[in-house]
């Protein structure tokens, strides 16, 4: 059993580390001159973070997740609504899971 003091210390440690990651990027960039090349890096970095989050998660989630992501992407292209795309992806996954035939 973890006692109260230990738990507080652990939470404080987690909070401090997480806060440092949140401010770290801006702190580092405040020492780096933002040239056009750095700006191009940051712009591609921004999209690449999301791509790097989504693709492995979708692959790990199997056919259901891949189809849900495809649906969300399609709805985004058609409607330009992020919330609509999100709901469509969730609806797609829920529907596939409700099917009597289990996907792989």
């Amino acid at each position: 059993m973890v006692d109260g003091t230990t738990a507080f210390l652990a939470i404080a440690l987690m909070a401090a580390v997480t806060f440092l990651t949140r401010i770290g990027g801006v702190v580092i960039m405040s020492f780096v001159p933002i040239t056009p090349r750095i700006e191009a890096f940051l712009r591609h970095l921004a999209v690449s973070v999301i791509v790097a989050l989504v693709v492995p998660a979708a692959v790990k989630g199997g056919p259901t997740a891949v189809l849900a992501v495809a649906t969300a992407g399609l709805v985004m292209v058609l409607t330009r609504s992020a919330v609509g795309a999100m709901l469509a992806g969730v609806a797609c996954a829920a529907l596939l899971r409700a099917l009597p035939i289990p996907l792989l």
Partner: protein, 237 residues
């Protein structure tokens, strides 16, 4: 906005109440869907022997779901502090990149406001902020307001989960687990500027996929993002 020319980055930044309210309103549909994850965390924390108060405290001060679940795996006596710090850092290291991507914008804010905005930075409100930047918004209140609403939703949901425990069952079975990746997919598609974007995106996807099986947990996102960013800079810089 041109198809694939110079990136559009705000040359100025403001922080207004109007922006905070607008940001909160815009993220509300996402914040609602964060609740099942918060409930799941609260219930899992209780099972690990945390009190409801400690679970809520952790959600309030850490506010980073994946790392909080990871911490529960390490939650034992004696507390493995070093492992805990390293794990939380690894899972949350992507925040450094999220923040860096917003730097050309947020560096225009006074220091106190800058770090206030960053203290509630999370994946969904960051994805929303990058889209807002693309359409020329300059109000960092959008990030603060959306972050605060996500934060409140996360804390409340943790409390609900901690009190009700696993009586609610696993709410994530209704497809909520694909919610975030669907939302992020929309964010990626919304940023599409034409074919030159394809190569950096493919590099990011490939490195992240390989990284997911060879790197320690959490680092594939960092590796993929850096690879995509560097590829983009080399091609456009």
């Amino acid at each position: 906005m041109n198809a694939h020319g110079a990136p559009r980055m705000a040359r100025t930044a403001t922080l207004t109440w109007r922006g905070i309210v607008a940001g909160a309103r815009e993220i509300a549909p996402v914040a609602i869907f964060v609740i099942p994850f918060g409930i799941a965390f609260g219930a899992a924390a209780i099972e690990k022997g945390l009190s409801a108060a400690l679970a809520v405290l952790m959600s309030a001060f850490v506010f980073a779901g994946a790392s909080q679940f990871a911490a529960l795996d390490l939650w034992s006596s004696p507390m493995p502090y070093l492992m805990l710090a390293l794990t939380v850092f690894a899972v949350n290291a992507r925040h450094i990149l999220l923040g860096a991507a917003l730097a050309p914008w947020l560096l225009h804010l006074p220091v106190a406001k800058r770090y206030a905005v960053l203290s509630v930075l999370s994946d969904p409100n960051w994805a929303q902020a990058t889209r807002a930047l693309q359409r020329g918004e300059t109000d960092a209140g959008l990030v603060l307001g959306s972050g605060l609403l996500m934060w409140v939703a996360w804390i409340l949901a943790t409390g609900i989960g901690a009190v009700l425990g696993s009586n609610l069952g696993d709410l994530t079975r209704f497809g909520f687990d694909v919610l975030m990746i669907s939302f992020f997919t929309a964010a990626v598609v919304g940023q599409w500027r034409g074919l030159p974007d394809l190569v950096p995106w493919l590099v990011a996807a490939a490195v992240a996929l390989v990284g997911a099986s060879v790197l320690p947990f959490g680092w594939h996102v960092v590796a993929g993002a850096l690879a995509g960013g560097i590829t983009g800079a080399l091609r456009h810089g």
